[in-house]
């Protein structure tokens, strides 16, 4: 499909790792966001889940810390083409958080302090696929990376992993979040290279 670029050979190909199409291996942790980094104090932090009936349920920082904690080690893939292998996090599985929430919604809008939003199918949040994390690489999550707490949905492009998360709104019909309305993909599966709408 691709046309040959004369004289281009590229870096040595990574061996023994599974790299989605169009991605390269990154060892640092780049930062990307659309505006200033919100500074959120854990004393006022909360996460609120709203169902399609309008019922709400919320967790304070202390509530979050009292829940069973997972320590996922996952690969992450940014739509700007870097992939980072074996990132280690600590936080609460969405399976734990949403276990008692009554809903038949198929879609979720994840919202952040600062106004960011991103839409994710509920099926992609459950089944050990997504977490609300507060610790990265053994240290409290830095604000530039979404601290005090962010969502991670590592099997999707990383813009779906909302930094500074503070809400999950369950929706019967899919609606688009911030980047999605600007033309980025509604699902964002890196293995199918779903970067933009229409991919």
């Amino acid at each position: 499909m691709s046309s040959l670029t004369p004289g281009f050979h590229g870096r040595p190909r990574p061996q023994g790792v599974a790299l989605p199409p169009g991605q390269y291996v990154e060892t640092g942790f780049p930062v990307l966001s659309a505006g200033p980094t919100p500074r959120v104090d854990t004393s006022t932090w909360q996460l609120e889940v709203t169902t399609e009936t309008g019922a709400t349920r919320s967790w304070s920082w202390a509530d979050l810390m009292r829940l069973p904690q997972d320590e996922p080690t996952v690969d992450i893939h940014c739509v700007t083409r870097w992939s980072k292998f074996g990132t280690t996090w600590r936080g609460v599985s969405l399976d734990t958080l949403l276990a008692e929430v009554e809903s038949t919604a198929d879609f979720a809008m994840v919202g952040s302090y600062g106004g960011y939003t991103t839409n994710v199918p509920v099926a992609d949040l459950l089944g050990g696929k997504a977490w609300i994390v507060h610790t990265f690489d053994g240290a409290p999550l830095h604000p530039v990376h979404g601290g005090p707490a962010r969502m991670i949905v590592p099997h999707l492009y990383f813009w779906k992993s909302a930094k500074w998360v503070n809400s999950i709104t369950l929706m019967p019909m899919d609606k688009q979040g911030f980047w999605e309305r600007l033309g980025y993909h509604d699902l964002g599966d890196p293995w199918r290279e779903q970067r933009y709408q229409g991919d």
């Binding site: 870096r11 911030f178 600007l182 033309g183």
Partner: protein, 290 residues
């Protein structure tokens, strides 16, 4: 932050089909940056601030893709009324001067990028040192509807542009667009660069500033300054933004672009000076490990 830009952004149809572009012209923009003029048939035109994706393919089929900001003036001067759904690859019929009549007179099938050479950069080193006039490359775009300045939409509201290094590229597109359409919106550019020789677009920026039509340009140096400089070398600080930016009371639109450290610092300083975070748009690039 979600409503206004979102409605607008949804109207920037994002052609997702790769096109073959040919390098029509290229020159050194500084000792470490090269400007590429790509000709791409069927280019739908772009807004100031948007970027493109380039794809390189090696003989064994390995591909590398990267995003680069467009430094040339907008070649789509108005938003399409018949907005195609995002992702529809059909070029918009409302792109101006489809075949050579863009506002800058160079034709909308030409796209000008400036690429910073990154030490060990897999793609940037090819684009700055290996890519020759006449060679082809795959390209798609334009991409991005958030970090965009449009004279039709935004004229009249003061604008602060804060550039760190090659972060000037998409901001230069905004300044060139403003000139091309004769817009008089008050603009201030604060441009932080390591050394005098690292500046991009030196001649064109001088011409833009000399027009005395409401654009102020302030260049700050982090490593070494030109002779006679009043300010010593140093990173852009809050007081620089207070001195050379706009007062927050004017509610200016702020565009901040550069390496992550620069963008983080400037965005934080703007908020501390009273700017509404929703008015501060950021774009980060440069070496990914920054």
């Amino acid at each position: 932050m979600t409503e206004a830009p979102v409605r607008l952004g949804a109207r920037y149809a994002m052609p997702s089909r790769w096109k073959v572009a040919r390098l029509a012209d290229a020159w050194e923009e500084s000792p470490s940056a090269r400007t590429l003029v790509l000709e791409v048939p069927g280019w739908p035109g772009h807004m100031a601030g948007q970027h493109v994706d380039l794809k390189l393919t090696a003989p064994d089929g390995y591909t590398a893709e990267r995003s680069y900001s467009i430094g040339g003036a907008a070649t789509r001067s108005s938003l399409p009324d018949d907005a195609t759904p995002a992702g529809d690859p059909a070029p918009s019929a409302s792109a101006v001067g489809q075949d050579g009549g863009g506002p800058d007179g160079t034709g909308v099938t030409r796209v000008e990028l400036t690429v910073q050479r990154v030490a060990g950069g897999e793609v940037s080193s090819y684009l700055t040192d290996g890519f020759s006039v006449g060679d082809t490359i795959e390209m798609r775009g334009p991409i991005g509807g958030w970090f965009v300045w449009s004279p039709e939409r935004d004229a009249g509201t003061p604008v602060l542009l804060a550039a760190g290094g090659s972060g000037l590229v998409p901001l230069m597109a905004m300044l060139r667009t403003r000139r091309d359409v004769g817009d008089r919106t008050p603009f201030r550019l604060v441009y932080s660069v390591r050394r005098p020789e690292d500046r991009l677009y030196v001649d064109d920026l001088a011409r833009l500033a000399a027009a005395q039509d409401g654009l102020d340009v302030q260049v700050l140096y982090t490593r070494s300054t030109p002779l006679g400089s009043m300010r010593g070398p140093g990173r852009l600080e809050r007081r620089d933004l207070a001195a050379w930016g706009w007062p927050a009371e004017l509610d200016p639109a702020c565009f901040v672009c550069g390496p992550t450290g620069f963008v983080e610092a400037v965005a934080k300083q703007l908020v501390s000076l009273g700017h509404d975070p929703a008015r501060v748009k950021t774009e980060r690039f440069g070496p990914a490990s920054d």
